[in-house]
């Protein structure tokens, strides 16, 4: 594994107080960012002329429940950045652990990360999707509503402890008999 991504020294020099972890897999570099410094890192990566990651390709999350190898946390929020000017890609990852039962939809004070929708506006819908599917909330998001599931959906379906066939949501809709139509 060779960590020769040209952005890594820039990050190191800009944040001497932060301990970054980095990993490389098949030419793709991932940087693990402390949760409280995510927005500073993102601003630097977008604005620094040596980085200029002006394009946020995706925001998604991974649930590592029952993952075979031990991981630093249960949820990882993943930011896929791309720089058209430099023709580079970089992945950021933020780890977090739930503090309340993950079966429900109540807000978890631990599953919160700063929004980057004021850095890249495209993050607004992507973060809504992560919130909808995983229940991870984004502090400072202008409009954090569900985007795929309907408003009252009682769960976050991409969590690994959510059953594939649901908990009966698909059977609970109003039936329209022939005589009512």
């Amino acid at each position: 594994m060779k960590l020769d991504h040209p952005t890594l020294p820039v990050l190191k020099a800009a944040f001497p107080d932060v301990k970054f972890l980095a990993a490389e897999f098949r030419g793709q570099t991932t940087v693990i960012v402390p949760r409280e410094r995510l927005k500073d890192v993102c601003r630097l990566l977008r604005d620094d002329p040596q980085c200029s990651y002006e394009f946020l390709a995706d925001v998604t999350a991974v649930d590592y429940l029952n993952y075979p190898a031990p991981q630093p946390g249960r949820f990882g929020v993943v930011y896929c950045l791309a720089s058209h000017a430099k023709d580079r890609r970089l992945t950021l990852k933020v780890w977090m652990n739930p503090s309340v039962d993950t079966a429900g939809t109540e807000p978890d004070p631990e599953l919160v990360v700063d929004t980057v929708s004021d850095v890249w506006p495209t993050a607004e819908w992507l973060e809504r999707e992560v919130f909808d599917m995983f229940g991870i909330r984004f502090r400072g998001h202008p409009d954090l509503r569900r985007i795929l599931m309907w408003k009252d959906f009682p769960g976050h379906p991409l969590r690994k402890d959510y059953p594939l066939r649901g908990r009966g949501e698909r059977e609970m809709h109003r039936v329209m008999p022939r005589e009512s139509a």
């Binding site: 959510y162 059953p163 594939l164 066939r165 329209m176 022939r178």
Partner: protein
């Protein structure tokens, strides 16, 4: 009816008013495509020149439910789409019929997940089910012809109080799928 040429000019044809009405209805079915997935592509192919749904008088696809009397649910319906489907069904003018086209609309198909309705007949009344994934255009034509037979026979089934009942019609596929030529293994072999 195509029999005008065989009749003398000044003759009279006696029939029942209901039969004339049924003949008019079945000869101009106006389908409304509720196409949400790949079955909708077959639905489009059915209306195009190769299969030519116009031969059966049902080629006038309208995208307003107010102008239609046959809804073709083609594709999977998610629970979030279901209120829309029910609302569109309510907006159609009577008399109206519903075809559930394909495995997904009829049973949920392979999408046995939290978000997909496992058969639209759980939530709206369905007259004819068409199997297939997706069904061939011939199957859809056969389904529309089944609807036409229902209309033609004046057989909107009713219970003793006069309310409409489901028809319990299911079409059988007219072909037999062959066995897989080789044994398939999934995962470790």
């Amino acid at each position: 009816m195509g029999i005008e040429a065989a009749l003398p000019v000044d003759s009279v044809l006696t029939t029942q008013l209901q039969r004339v009405v049924n003949w008019a209805r079945r000869s101009s079915v106006w389908p409304m495509p509720f196409a949400t997935a790949c079955c909708g592509i077959e639905l489009m192919a059915t209306a195009c020149s190769r299969f030519d749904l116009a031969r059966f008088g049902a080629e006038v696809m309208r995208f307003s439910p107010r102008q239609c009397d046959l809804m073709i649910v083609a594709g999977r319906v998610s629970v979030k789409t279901l209120p829309v489907l029910q609302r569109i069904y309510l907006q159609m003018a009577e008399p109206k019929w519903v075809i559930s086209m394909g495995a997904c609309a009829s049973t949920g198909g392979v999408f046995d997940t939290y978000a997909v309705v496992q058969g639209v007949d759980q939530y709206i009344p369905v007259d004819v089910y068409i199997p297939g994934c997706p069904p061939r255009p011939e199957m859809l034509i056969e389904g529309i012809m089944a609807i036409q037979r229902v209309i033609d026979n004046d057989n909107i089934p009713r219970d003793p109080t006069g309310k409409r009942l489901p028809l319990q019609i299911a079409l059988e596929p007219n072909y037999r799928p062959r066995a897989q030529p080789a044994r398939l293994s999934v995962g470790a072999s």
